[in-house]
């Protein structure tokens, strides 16, 4: 697929939602996606090194290969099969098995770090020290202290820093946030997130010695489980919608089904409380996928389904039965109405089919652990190239990523301790 076309589509999608100019003033980190942003870097390339060429690394490589503003000059992985796969995709790139050697390479201007979580902080800090711009995959780091160290080093370096929170570049989310901020659903009264799958989250492992390296997601030393791998994306929703950050979190988790030697929970239920009293929930179970992935902002006058890009009203205009039926067919969400009550009877689920608020909506079901297409990842990687070339730090991304990671880490800790944790003042650094 031509990624420039995708960006054009992205722009036209944004353009159909609001005047692009006003979108940029509301969402300034999107500058790289505008025509002005494209012109600024015309004919220039960001010379990049990829550290960690596993599934996410290769996903980025595939996207960057068709981005005219990117040139992949170096690849690094300490697992040869993955390095070879990536080398086949970019035969001209220099190959390294030690990331520090890649950082010594003067050709590399910026690095994209796609390694397991336990490596994020050390690699990011070393990269800044080596004078490189950094795009680190989410979550930012393994602990809040590591996140703070990363931020401190970033601030010292004066380099560009981007973290893999691609929802910031997804048109559905952008439009939804614009609607929420304009009061379209009244006051925000709740935030509900869930991510259900039915698979063991394992990768095929050629030898038992490699188990902890290949299946790093399943072990405490390299992962904080569902919270840093899945929740981190969704926990951004509440903060973005309300422009504030939770005060405390409580949670629980267990290994209920996949008792295969893993150390991280296979189900969690976590609740955050915001200063205004709003609660944000995150639930994940990976042994039942009935509900799939869902993200909802609940308002006093309506609800926004962020994943599907639909807005529901609390007092929907009356629609005849056949009209509701036709709308449901049009929206492709033939919900089981036998379970839903009439729209005017309280305490029962609303049957309002809602209205789509973006054209050409592209939804993802959250089942891929590599990343979905058209979820903002391409635009985020392009924004990084733009930032490397211009030296301009895209706004908001680091702050959002820091708090999303901190909330995920606190949620993980709370669910291990089965306790309530308070967000410390000294951790509110941005």
């Amino acid at each position: 697929m031509d990624k420039l076309l995708t960006r054009k589509e992205f722009l036209s999608n944004l353009g159909s939602m609001f005047a692009v100019g006003s979108a940029i003033s509301l969402f300034p980190w999107l500058t790289s996606c505008t025509e002005k942003g494209q012109k600024e870097i015309e004919g220039q390339v960001a010379k990049l090194g990829i550290i960690g060429t596993g599934s996410r690394g290769q996903f980025h490589i595939a996207n960057l290969l068709v981005d005219k503003s990117a040139k992949i000059v170096a690849l690094c992985d300490d697992y040869e099969p993955h390095l070879k796969e990536a080398a086949a995709m970019c035969p001209d790139a220099k190959l390294y098995s030690d990331y520090r050697k890649l950082l010594d390479d003067k050709d590399v201007e910026g690095v994209i770090i796609c390694t397991p979580l336990n490596w994020h902080a050390v690699m990011t800090i070393d990269s800044f020290k080596a004078g490189k711009h950094v795009f680190c995959e989410k979550s930012m780091a393994y602990s809040i202290q590591e996140c703070k160290d990363v931020i401190a080093e970033w601030q010292r370096s004066g380099k560009v820093f981007v973290v893999g929170q691609q929802r910031l570049f997804d048109p559905k989310y952008i439009k939804a946030m614009e609607l929420i901020h304009s009061g379209a659903i009244g006051e925000v009264v709740g935030v509900r997130n869930y991510w259900y799958r039915n698979n063991d989250w394992r990768r095929e492992c050629p030898s038992p010695d490699l188990e902890r390296r290949i299946n790093w997601r399943l072990y405490n030393a390299s992962s904080r489980g569902l919270m840093t791998e899945l929740a981190c994306h969704q926990l951004q929703n509440g903060s973005w919608a309300m422009d504030q950050y939770p005060e405390c979190v409580t949670g629980m988790g267990s290994i209920r089904f996949w008792k295969d030697g893993r150390e991280v929970f296979d189900n969690v239920a976590v609740t955050y409380e915001y200063p205004n009293g709003v609660h944000m929930t995150f639930e994940s179970i990976i042994s039942n996928k009935h509900f799939g992935m869902g993200e909802f902002i609940l308002g006093s006058e309506g609800t926004i389904d962020l994943v599907k890009g639909i807005m529901f009203s609390e007092s929907p205009a009356y629609r005849s039965g056949i009209e509701q039926f036709l709308m449901q067919i049009k929206q492709g969400i033939l919900s089981n109405s036998a379970f839903a009550g009439s729209s005017w009877s309280q305490e029962e689920a609303s049957t309002d089919p809602g209205v789509r608020f973006t054209d050409k909506i592209i939804t993802t079901d959250g089942s891929s652990s590599t990343g979905a297409t058209n979820d903002g990842s391409v635009e985020l990687a392009h924004a990084f190239c733009h930032a490397v070339i211009t030296g301009q730090q895209p706004e908001k991304i680091v702050k959002e990523a820091y708090y999303a990671t901190a909330l995920a880490l606190m949620g993980d800790q709370a669910s291990h301790e089965k306790s309530t944790l308070y967000f410390k003042d000294e951790d509110r650094i941005l």
Partner: protein, 80 residues
């Protein structure tokens, strides 16, 4: 130019199919009223939507019939 002759039998058949589609659409409307707990006067007030559904059903059926006809023709040619 050749004159196109549509026999009365064919016209009658199409009218019957159209009537069938309309009856189906009315039934769909009734089912929707029951399922969505809406109001019975919608049988009359929503006639526009009913006609729309009837036309959609007719067109759908037409496509299916054309496909069957084409398959039959191909099949007959092969048998010859």
């Amino acid at each position: 130019m050749k004159d196109l002759v549509i026999s009365g039998r064919k016209v009658k058949r199409e009218l019957l199919i159209a009537l069938g589609c309309f009856i189906c659409a009315v039934l769909i409307n009734i089912i929707c009223i029951i399922v969505y707990h809406s109001q019975w006067h919608e049988i009359f007030t929503q006639i526009g939507f009913t006609v729309f559904v009837a036309i959609a059903l007719y067109v759908l059926l037409l496509i299916v019939r054309l496909i069957i006809l084409a398959c039959r023709k191909i099949f007959c040619k092969r048998n010859k």
